[in-house]
Subunit: 238 residues, 2 copies
DNA sequence: CGCGGCCTTGAGCCCTATCAAGGCAAGTGG
DNA sequence: CCACTTGCCTTGATAGGGCTCAAGGCCGCG
């Protein structure tokens, strides 16, 4: 292959003012990327909802998502589920510090990932400070993204959580057509609800509310026409 | 000094079954620690509520908390505040990926920290893979802690959020006396509320509720006698 | 002793969870 | 091609947890 699609996704600061624009990835030299690819095995999932690893499994591998969308979820003893993150191409998965995965990782639609043996990867990173630095920067980005989600869950009502979420989705060009401002949601109401700390019914009602306020237009359940300016108008992030 | 108090705090998996026990820090060799100390400047704050850095400030330094307690908060445009983390000794602060601090960092009581020039630290880490690896592991721990907080905010009612929080506090021996199970809260109701995504009034009411259920006993506003088993009984985490 | 910050308590209302039922769309087998 | 099934989405009714506004109490400090 001429040059692989291995990359480390950077996280923008805010609900991006211009949706459809993804920030530049965290820099990795072509040589470094080649070395990583060399170390990795490519895993492909064709079906949606495939389990990449389960909560509680022995953590044998780490992953780098090349293509597709993955949800990271944690199920409580009473069956409640919280989705802790959606991972897009360029995101790292399974960097569990302990011997076991804390969360489950499942595909949403087809996906392709690079798979690394944890021990091998760890040893490799120690030998390659620049790449390890890329991983550290990536972890820092992910920390910031989680902090922002914490703010959203802690301080926003559901409509605003949803507005942030839709804008976040719109930042990924694969699901958002900037030309006509149409977002194609790849995940179910349940997934969105479990990500935003609410219920699927409330997601539906909030979408209806956003529509009545002219912030979005529901073409079908999964196809939404966004008005990015109106969506971000009510938000106070940054 | 014989051996410094520089260390990288590890994060335990759960509301620790035996409170008062802190997990072993992330390993750093004495030489590595000495090098880090050499690179750092020591900063001391005597007053509570001292500003270490403000939201939006140019990010010139990173910090490692040696002693004391620090809150990391983000204030929204409408004045709402969310506390994104409390930092204990051994935690890293100000690892902002961009040029500016996203959040503010303020002391809660007296504090002492190691301060690093960001650029210097970055260059140093590139030269010292083992130390950089320690930082990467630390970031991974922090990621996990944030994920857990996300689960708590997304799926728990306020009483249970509070139970988790109290157990977390009790994991830090400086504020928890394991002998008599007395926790001395270092922060105000407002701080707790802004951390748990609720209001100070609700914190008070939830404390009252926990007391009526025999999970805690309020000696004074800031001194609580905990029943760790009962507190963790209602929780479903892990 | 008095002041101010912090904590507690109360009342009313709104948002959202929950339970329940119905609609829609895509896929399957006859 | 159509009936049926199944998963997902929407809508309704109701109850309750938590927010907000407001006032009063407590404690530490000057």
């Amino acid at each position: 292959m001429p040059h692989s699609d291995l990359r480390l996704r950077a996280v923008g600061v805010v609900p991006g003012i211009p949706p459809g624009n993804e920030p530049d990835p965290i820099p990795l030299s072509p040589e470094d990327r080649a070395e990583l690819v060399h170390l990795a095995q490519i895993i492909t999932y064709k079906a949606a909802g495939s389990l990449i690893y389960a909560q509680g499994d022995t953590a044998t591998h780490s992953f780098l998502l090349a293509d597709g969308l993955v949800r990271i979820s944690h199920t409580l003893a009473d069956g409640e589920r919280q989705i802790v993150a959606f991972h897009w191409p360029g995101d790292l998965l399974g960097l569990a510090p302990e011997g076991r995965y804390i969360n489950a990782a499942e595909t949403i639609g087809p996906a392709r990932l690079y798979r690394f043996q944890r021990q091998e990867l760890a040893a490799f990173l120690l030998q390659n400070p620049r790449i390890q630095n890329g991983f550290l920067v990536k972890a820092t980005h992910d920390l910031r993204a989680l902090q922002r989600q914490l703010i959203v869950l802690g301080r926003y009502d559901i409509s605003r959580r949803l507005a942030v979420f839709l804008l976040d989705c719109a930042a990924h060009s694969c699901y958002f057509n900037a030309a006509d401002a149409i977002l194609t949601l790849p995940m179910s109401r349940d997934d969105i609800a479990d990500y935003l700390g609410t219920s699927a019914e409330t997601i539906t009602r909030s979408l209806a509310r956003l529509e009545s306020e002219g912030q979005i237009e529901r073409l079908t359940a999964r196809r939404l026409k966004l008005s990015p300016e109106r969506l971000s108008a009510g938000l106070t992030l940054d």
